[in-house]
Amino acid sequence: MSEVVITAAASAAPRRRSRFLARALRQPLGLAALTVLVLLVLLVVVGPAFLPHSPTRTNPLRTLQPPSAEHWLGTDELGRDVFARIVHGGRVSLSVGLFSMLVGLTIGIAVGGSAGYFGGRTETVLMRIVDTFMAIPTFFLILVIVTSFGNHPVTVVFTVGLGFWAQMARSVHAEFRRFKTAEFVEASRALGSGHLRLMARHILPQVLPQAIVLATLGVGWAILTEAGLSYLGLGIQPPLASWGNMLQNAQAYLFRAPILAVWPGLFIAVTVLSFNVLGNALRDVLDPRGS
């Protein structure tokens, strides 16, 4: 009897992995998006070491130049190389996006998971807090926090994360609630597992696929939000470049050099688009029963 069980288990593992891979390979859009993102990350991580121009050195003699062999994307209103600023700005925008998503993810899973698992009054209190955060339009919430706590890059990361956590908590709450009464949880509890172990080691892995999808889409949203904040002058401050504040500079020169406004926004759009496409593809691969 035990040989049958062991053999079945052994042959299940490689089959599961190859099934995942097979499904993953059937998502051409997702793979394309992933490639774009990998290239982008490479560009912003490795690029600064190879750039011929500094992103902050101004050159009053060569302002608002169109793209040329010397300056691949031209120069901005202070004579700075646009391409260099795009690469450095990408570093900032991407890291803020990634880290703020992680902040939102952590808080969301912690709050949502606890609410779903413990139930009762804990659940009511926690979910009311979630409802409160969701009742305030995200940008207003972010404005309030930025007004109070300033716009140091780390603060910006936490602020954007705080705009994201409530949605995460809602989804995670539903999932934890569903799995709370599952048999494997009860079995583990009977064997003496405490609450934390049950939540982290047993329920969380089941919720992970959905969380990964939401996290991927969340990075896209975080990048958009940081860009908007920086565009409004409330996020990343110059001279530190971010795709958002580059757009703010560009708006003053719409009549003289409209091309300046195209590059940062284009990069934002392509990046967020890739994250969204990747997230949708991940959803099809990891969670095929949904829709």
Partner: protein, 315 residues
């Protein structure tokens, strides 16, 4: 029915109260006071006098109670940077934002529902893929960038539409002029809202496709058009209405940025000016107003639910 409404009303009030608590304490947790009060040239005595004027010398919970007592009577305090009552500032600017938001909502809902239905009726064929592409683009493109590009194309290059503002100088009574100023901001705002509408409409209509009553209607011989209108749409509208309520939050968030791009003097711009100037009473007032609108809209949506779907009244 009334029991349902009363219950929802009670929940709404609780949420509003919690929103005020959250916002007030977030603002007051700030390290450092309002920037205009930190004028280094005034003496300590003068600064303390200004603190007392704005009640900043009393403990937080006392300030909250005072503010709340005023707020329910319509008094939201005075703007630090402009010296005017916050409620007056809000009323001045609210109209413009409401007009913008409603126009964007109508555009997004109208087009979005249409596209969602088209996609659902042709699943996995080219109309569906086209609509998905539009939806994904709408979610990925930064709306302020789209606004800037729209200004470049339509205002700078083609000169068809104005680049900013609510109304041209000296033409404040001209409705056509106001509409021309609305076109770009409302369209850009709507483009960001459409993906949600499309997604929900598509899945709602798809769900009705596989139901028994639709199968019955079809087997009775009802023409497809009638099946869609009389049975599928009517049932699909419940989740669509729900989503329209949720969209209000996105609408407000979007208008904050869009109003900045287009120099449109509404609530969003007011909030940004207040944030830049650390004008606490105004930020508090604006956020509370936004929260109030969201709660009210969701309540109305629940009312609409009960009207459209009689089953809900008896829950």
């Amino acid at each position: 029915m009334t029991q349902y409404l009363v219950r929802r009303l009670g929940q709404g009030v609780v949420v509003l109260f919690l929103v005020s608590l959250l916002t007030f304490f977030l603002i007051n947790l700030a390290p450092g006071g309002p920037s205009s009060l930190l004028d280094m040239s005034t003496t300590v005595a003068e600064r303390n006098a200004r603190y007392a004027l704005y009640g900043l010398d009393r403990p937080v919970h006392e300030r909250y109670v005072t503010w709340l007592a005023g707020a329910v009577r319509g008094d939201l305090g005075t703007s630090i940077n402009q010296g005017l009552p916050v409620s007056r500032l809000l009323m001045q600017r609210l109209g413009a934002t409401v007009v913008l938001a409603l126009s964007a909502l109508v555009l997004a809902a109208g087009l979005g529902v249409l596209l969602g239905i088209v996609a659902a009726l042709n699943p996995n064929r080219w109309p569906d893929h086209l609509v998905s592409t539009v939806a994904t683009l709408g979610m990925s493109v930064p709306n302020f960038w789209l606004g800037i590009i729209a200004i470049i194309v339509f205002a700078v290059e083609l000169r068809w539409l104005p680049a900013s503002g609510i109304v041209s100088i000296g033409r404040s009574a001209d409705i056509v002029d106001r509409i021309r100023h609305l076109v770009l901001p409302a369209s850009v705002l709507a483009f960001g809202l459409m993906p949600n509408v499309i997604r929900v409409t598509r899945s709602a209509v798809l769900e009705t496709k596989t139901t028994d009553y639709v199968r019955t209607a079809r087997s009775k011989g009802l023409p497809d058009g009638k099946v869609v209108r009389k049975h599928m749409l009517r049932n699909a509208f419940v989740p669509i209405t729900a989503m329209l309520g949720l969209i209000t939050t996105v609408l407000f968030s979007g208008s904050v940025v869009i109003e900045s791009v287009f120099g449109y003097a509404g609530i969003g711009r007011l909030a940004i000016e207040a944030a830049n100037g650390r004008d606490y009473p105004v930020i508090l007032g604006v956020t509370m107003l936004a929260g109030l609108v969201v709660v009210v809209v969701n309540l109305l949506v629940d009312l609409l639910y009960a009207v459209i779907d009689p089953r809900i009244r008896h829950v």
